[in-house]
């Protein structure tokens, strides 16, 4: 019988530790265990066999670290490991009831944005291992010891793309039930269930006792078979050897307790031996087996956050959507990601739980932008995202690299649309927004909408998407064209709850299109919709009346424990004032006396922007203001910094203030051609991931009128050179923080000299010195941001 047919139906057992056993066989420190598949196959075979003999049904191949970062012959090593494990199984006489598991451990690299490994590269790394294991005849893929759910996702995607074998994933949590990346048990389970793995569990980290409470949490939230593989306690060194402190008897006693919680597959990890496993099997196999229980909770997750869609309504921020938003449109066209990030952070601050991300504009490459926007937004916020697009390629690329289980906006009742969207949701997982409209248009009545919703639920069934992961849109449309529309929408929302026990969503503000004082209608409509069971409200969380409705509703409906959220938000509320601007008020009144120059010198960002606006409003020319107020003020701070009377934080605050003032100018001149002193490339060189210094230089250069092409960090020489050639750049600024990366700085300079002679190179960073800079052939060394500005001035003024 195949493993998939047995998982969750009977007790199954994994193997135990390998590291300490191999050390006992003479594995040297620093020697990679996987090399033994080729050099000492007999030892590996006897290790594998000892677990088959002990009673394990699932025995891992010796391939935990067999990835291309450590080996250049991955397929050979993996295939040998599978063959050895098959032979061991045969020798043990277990061909009929035991399985060879292609063991996949973490790459040892952290994924972007935390580390430097791109998601799709990680998928390739895992695919190479799994493909070799599959071709050699492995029975199941075991992805284990993952401390980052994103890396686990990459491995699962790889497994599913390479083969149809069952996939088991076990993660490493700490005692508080958190992954290294901050994710919890529930969110990780939701993501992995969405990815359609076959079993989910926990391994390594600590012994069975500490694992018990985490196993308990797993049982509460997981609908799939659960795997528990603890260590034999904690390691310590005894006479030069590593030993673990939990013996087989104690180990199996605690495992018996864990078994009774309702887990389904049990084994061991570091420090456990065939004796641990055998003793455990003997105790557990006679216990009553409790099959997995389907759970009905709906979660939208990010790598660290987990938002439950249920009784308490959820706020989805609508601000990252270019429809009707000129500034966002401009930002998207100019690839100004910072603007998008600012919008994301503002909405988080205002109380959004999930952020909608729609980057569709006819003149941009939407799939590329969707990928970039998701990656960048997830690098600054924990909030889960709602991927909002009608472009199927953008949807797929977004879902693929998304870190967590996203919301998807949307599918509708059209046959063709269902066929395009649902397979993606089935593959990557997600909570899917469904619009109850079809080839016949938008039904005017709730009867028509409910009928389409029913068809969508049925379609989801056929794709294996759980109904709990469908959220039906009530389709809010303006009451100014159809006076009955709010009633039809509210009915739909209520019936989704009552007739399907389903979840619902509304783009709330559509209800008032074409009306004056829209927030009045919107906020009351929101309350009515929530009273009718609305699960998710897509709104602008920065709008005071909307959030006032939301918080009041929760307070009134006993969904705000101790009224904490309400009180926190409105403790300074003054009756009679409009709640139309929520959030912190602008800085204190005494700042208003500052002139633009003073505001910049003192680093008061808000006032600097205000003062710039006042100056422009008074009819002054923007260039004149910049030349006579802004630059001299920055110069005074810069000179003070150079003289040692002003310190870096003050310089940075002034830079921030100047940047804010510039933003005002830029906005005022949005339609006019911009005047710049020249274009400069900035990059932190390959291998180096420190970019704070470079970012400071960027802000300063921009403030002094340069157009900066910021290539980011860890930038390969070719990319810098190609960019310099393409844009005919005169000055390139390179940054390196570590001695080890100065070599790639030198390499970059060499390549520049060769391909684009005459380009000036200015270098800086913690390890650089004037001597070093000469040695590697740079034109100039800049000790700080001001020095870079001065150098660029000297090049461009000459």
């Amino acid at each position: 019988m195949g493993l998939r047919e047995r998982l969750g139906k009977e007790w199954l057992f994994c193997d135990g530790g390998t590291g300490s056993i191999l050390q006992g066989m003479g594995l040297k420190g620093g020697e990679l265990p996987e090399t033994w598949n080729l050099t000492r196959p007999d030892d590996i075979r006897s290790l594998n066999k000892s677990y088959f003999d002990a009673g394990s049904n699932i025995v891992n191949t010796n391939t935990f670290g067999a990835n291309r970062f450590k080996f250049d012959n991955v397929p050979e090593i993996v295939k040998a490991a599978v063959k050895i494990c098959q032979e061991a199984r045969h020798e043990a006489g277990r061909d009929n009831d035991a399985y060879v598991a292609i063991d996949v451990g973490p790459t040892g690299k952290l994924l972007e944005p935390m580390g430097d490994l791109a998601f799709n590269d990680a998928v390739d790394v895992f695919a190479e291992i799994i493909k070799a294991g599959y071709e050699a005849g492995g029975d199941v893929v075991v992805i284990e010891t993952m401390s980052d759910s994103y890396e686990a996702k990459a491995a699962v995607v790889a497994a599913h793309e390479v083969c149809a074998l069952p996939v088991i994933v076990t993660m490493v949590y700490d005692e508080s039930g958190k992954l290294l990346t901050g994710g919890g048990v529930e969110g990780t389970v939701a993501m992995l269930e969405g990815l359609k793995v076959d079993a989910i569990g926990i391994n390594c980290g600590f012994g069975p006792k500490q694992m018990l409470p985490i196993a308990e949490r797993l049982v509460k939230c997981c609908s799939l078979p659960i795997v528990v593989n603890p260590n034999a306690g904690l390691p310590r060194t005894e006479n030069g050897a590593t030993v673990y402190d939990v013996d087989p008897e104690d180990f199996s006693s605690v495992m018996e307790e864990i078994a009774k919680l309702g887990v389904h597959v049990m084994g061991g990890c570091c420090g456990t031996t065939p004796a641990h496993i055998n003793t455990m099997i003997n105790k557990v196999k006679t216990l009553p087996f409790i099959p997995p229980v389907e759970k009905n909770d709906t979660y939208v997750t990010s790598f660290a956050d987990c938002v439950k869609i249920g009784k308490k309504p959820v706020i989805i921020g609508e601000r990252i959507n270019p429809t009707g938003k000129k500034k966002l449109q401009q930002a998207l066209r100019e690839n100004n990601i910072d603007y998008i990030l600012t919008e994301a952070l503002k909405q988080e601050e205002a109380g959004a739980h999930i952020l909608d991300v729609n980057v569709g504009l006819p003149e941009i490459d939407e799939p590329v932008m969707m990928e970039t926007a998701i990656l960048k937004i997830q690098s600054v916020t924990n909030l889960p995202l709602q991927i909002d697009t009608t472009d199927i390629e953008a949807l797929e690329r977004g879902m693929r690299i998304y870190n967590g289980k996203p919301m998807i906006n949307s599918v509708n009742g059209k046959e063709e649309n269902i066929k395009a969207v649902m397979p993606l949701v089935a593959k990557y997982g997600g909570v899917l927004v469904a619009l109850p409209l079809d080839e016949g248009g938008i039904p005017e009545t709730s009867d028509g909408r409910i009928a389409i919703a029913k068809r969508i639920y049925e379609a989801a069934d056929s794709y294996g998407i759980p109904r709990k992961d469908i959220v039906i849109d009530g389709l809010a449309m303006t009451i100014s064209s159809d006076p009955n529309s709010a009633i039809a929408t509210l009915d739909t929302v209520r019936r989704v709850r009552d007739e399907f026990s389903g979840h619902s969503i509304l783009g709330v503000s559509n209800i008032s299109f074409g009306l004056p004082a829209r927030e009045l209608v919107n906020s009351h409509f929101l309350t009515m919709a929530m009273q009718n069971g609305l699960s998710c409200a897509i709104i602008n969380p920065c709008n005071g009346p909307m959030m006032a409705s939301y918080r009041s509703f929760n307070a009134l409906m006993n969904m705000d424990p101790n009224l904490e959220e309400f009180i926190n938000a409105y403790k300074d509320y003054v009756a009679g004032t409009s709640a139309s601007s929520s959030g912190p008020k602008s800085s204190s009144a005494n700042n208003t006396v500052l002139s633009l120059a003073e505001a910049i010198e003192r680093g008061v960002t808000g006032r600097a922007a205000e003062a710039m606006k006042e100056a422009l409003d008074s009819g002054r020319e923007s260039l004149e203001i910049i030349d006579s107020d802004l630059i001299p003020a920055l110069d005074r701070v810069g000179k003070g910094y150079e003289a040692g009377t002003v310190f870096l934080p003050q310089l940075l605050m002034s830079a921030d203030a100047a940047k804010a003032a510039f933003a005002v100018v830029k906005e005022a001149m949005a339609d006019k051609p911009r005047n710049t002193k020249g274009q400069v490339i900035l990059a932190t060189v390959k291998g180096d991931i420190h970019d704070i210094g470079k970012n400071i230089v960027k802000v300063m250069l921009e403030n002094y009128g340069y157009d900066v092409i910021d290539l980011g960090k860890d930038v390969p020489p070719e990319v810098i050179v190609d960019c310099a050639i393409e844009n005919n750049i005169r000055v390139v600024g390179l940054s390196a923080l570590m001695t080890t990366t100065v070599a790639s700085m030198e390499e970059t300079i060499k390549l520049l000299r060769e391909k684009k002679p005459g380009t000036k190179v200015v270098v800086g960073g913690a390890v650089m010195t004037p001597e070093y800079s000469d040695q590697i052939g740079a034109d100039a060394y800049a000790k700080d941001a001001m020095a870079t500005v001065r150098y660029c001035d000297s090049v461009f003024d000459s």
Binding site: Q23, G26, L27, K28, G29, G30, E31, P106, G108, K109, L110, P113, M114, G115, D116, T145, S147, D148, D174, S176, K178, L180, T181, G182, C204, T237, G240, A241, T242, D338, L341, T342, L345, S379, V380, T381, N382, G603, T605, F647, L648, P649, Q650, L652, M653, A655, D656, G687, D688, I689, H690, I692, N695, I696, V699, M738, T739, T740, T741, T769
Partner: protein, 225 residues
């Protein structure tokens, strides 16, 4: 699991580049306090350490691990560990959240990013100092004395030896720090170090900042205020 150790605000200021300055504007002090709070709340410190026998000779220190001997060539380390027969190797991180706080702050303000950067650096040091203090007490109870922490990259101990730390302690698997190809650690607020264990209280060798080859140019020296 927050940091559970107070981050000294003065240290944050030092990492920010304030040297010998006391009249920091109240708004800035407020920002620093806020950054310290956030870093503290969102940190998730993890640490791993193991004790090894070592042999210190004229120019090298040899660490005797389970199945291998690791040789570190470094005169500054020899000075730091002279008289020791054992050492603790350790690695610690406050986790990835601080890196995100820096990125978040950087979206709108270079100044705030630098404050978070400094707060993170001060946080991992404070966490280690606290851990160090506890170690010191427990070792002294056994009549043993600890030397100051020493990290790969200090003095003439090559950064290359990061690889030894990562292999011996299995750092990536145990506490989730990655060592990049260029020998940097991610999360960035992470530390690897060795602490010598000696039988005398005598503090030989370590001359503190003054003994460092970057002493003349270091922006962060504790002794140039």
């Amino acid at each position: 699991m927050p940091l559970e150790v107070e981050i000294p605000l003065k240290e944050i200021q030092r990492y920010m580049g304030y040297r010998g300055i006391t009249d920091i504007a109240p708004e800035m002090q407020e920002k620093i306090r806020k950054a310290a709070d956030q870093v503290s709340i969102q940190s998730h410190p993890r640490i791993i350490s193991r004790e090894y026998r070592i042999t210190v000779s004229e120019k090298t220190v040899v660490i005797h691990a389970d199945n291998e001997d690791v040789t570190l060539e470094s005169e500054s380390l020899v000075r730091n560990l002279s008289g020791c027969c054992g050492a603790l190797l350790l690695a610690a991180t406050i986790g990835p959240a601080c890196d995100m706080l820096v990125r978040r702050a950087g979206v709108t303000s270079a100044a705030e990013a630098s404050i978070y950067q400094a707060a993170g650096a001060a946080a991992i040091e404070a966490f280690l100092d606290d851990y160090n203090e506890k170690l010191k007490t427990s070792y002294e109870a056994r009549g043993l004395f600890l030397r100051p922490r020493f990290s790969p990259g200090y003095g003439d101990l090559k950064l290359e030896h990061q690889k030894d730390w990562f292999r011996l302690l299995d750092i990536t698997k145990q506490i989730g720090i990655e060592l990049t190809d260029s020998l940097l650690m991610v999360p960035t607020k992470s530390v690897t170090a060795v602490i010598g264990i000696g039988i005398s209280r005598e503090r030989t060798g370590c001359a503190g900042c003054a003994g460092c080859n970057k002493h003349a140019t270091c922006e962060f020296s504790k002794e140039r205020d």
